[in-house]
């Protein structure tokens, strides 16, 4: 239990990003050290759920329909509200591009 809650780090690639990439598996409740590209610690965030290594943790709250930003660029839109510390992945983040399903009236986020 103690081992699982140890601190892990996550990388923010651009100042404007609202997600960071976790560099190891993160347990629910773990303190995640958020690092900038220069390796300096920006802040610490408590993980609200389990996040697999290499996946994204939310570092600024995102409202439904708002853009998730990584590399300083839009990587798609939030399909539900995402709180700081949440796991950001295909369950709550949709592409805006390559969405042939939307033209056919399927799918949600545009």
């Amino acid at each position: 239990m103690f081992e699982q809650l140890k601190q892990v780090s996550a990388l923010v690639l651009n100042e404007g990003d609202n997600v960071a990439t976790v560099l190891a598996d993160v347990a629910k409740g773990a303190r995640v050290m958020i690092l900038g590209r220069d390796g300096r610690c920006i802040c610490q965030i408590e993980a609200k759920e389990v996040i697999p290594a290499g996946h994204k943790i939310c570092v600024k709250p995102v409202l439904p329909g708002e853009s998730v930003v990584k590399y300083g660029n839009d990587i798609g839109c939030a399909v539900s509200g995402i709180a700081t510390g949440n796991w950001v992945h295909v369950h709550n983040l949709a592409s805006r591009r390559g969405r042939g399903d939307l033209a056919a009236g399927k799918g949600g986020c545009a």
Binding site: L13, L23, G54, Y71, I75, L93, G98, G100
Partner: protein
Amino acid sequence: MTFSGFPRPDGAVGVRNYLAVIPTVVCANHVSKSIAREIPGSVALAHEHGCNQIGADADLFKRTLAGLGKNPNVGAVLLVGLGCEEFNPWEIAELIIPSGKEVCCLSIQEEGGTSKAIARGIKLAQELYSGIRDIQRRECPLHMLTVGIECGGSDYTSGIVSNPAAGLCADSLVRQGARVVFSETTEIVGAEHLLMSRIASETKRALLQQMVNRVEEDARRMNCDIRGAQPTPGNIAGGLSTIEEKSLGAICKSGSSPIVDVLEYAEPCTLPGVSFMDTPGHDVTSMVGMVAGGAQLLLFTTGRGTPTGNALAPVIKLCANPETVKKMAENIDIDLSQVVYGNSTLDFAANEIYDYLLKVAAGEKTRAEMLGHCEFGIHRVGPTL
């Protein structure tokens, strides 16, 4: 800076010295492979096409075969046809001959069947190979290199480390006057605005936009969200959630130099600097497109791990995922995982890639070559009729 390569009659320089045995139609695969098996230094480029193709698809196929024959890693060419297909070997040979290489052709129907065609092919191949066997390497300026950059089996480490490191290496190559080509149109969707800002020519920007539009039109035509195919299930398991995210990481492999050209699949890459080539995200067909465009060497970044090689060009695998470099160690040429943890830098990694690339150009075998990987596939843009 120089590298040690095989000089060709047209002034190009190969980093390998192959006799290419090229079937002009799928029906000639067995004969081509049987010939190549008997001749050391030869490679058969078996594929599934060459019959019942029309229009732009037929043009692409022809351009690809000709480009492969012209690739500087090829010293001589044997074209093998059946005899009733629309791309006869002599027609493809016409396109290769201006490069000054020896080219021979063979038709299975004319020879009178499989055994006779193989026997005649072996004789021709022996003659062709004896003409290139003794070509010696010599030091050549780096601007004679065309390096293709591919990414495949991408994950979170690709966009953070291996693609940016490959990009820095691309910048160094460009400073030396070399040509760098990157590809995979699907994997620029969502990041095309960043590439556009590096293209001076309005015409070329418009061409790139058309290529991107086509990918999205295809998705609309199929009524599909491309997610699941792009990013792939492996990409998604590796932390990439959307095509935009994958693309923003993927384009880092092209570095930061201006983009001087936007090429069709297998179109010759002629301008010094970075060019983009319109290929699918399918690694094998993408690399074949770049090799047909003239790339003698390929850098290949991966996160999840892939063994893929190429029949004519050495493929250098770069990987920054610490699990993958352990699990698939035999497939990875350069381990960049220390950069992820801040124990090494992107600049250091880029220098390491650059130095290794020159060694491979001079003959050192890559992991893919040592393991016998020589994947080959040609892109299609039309139906088989």
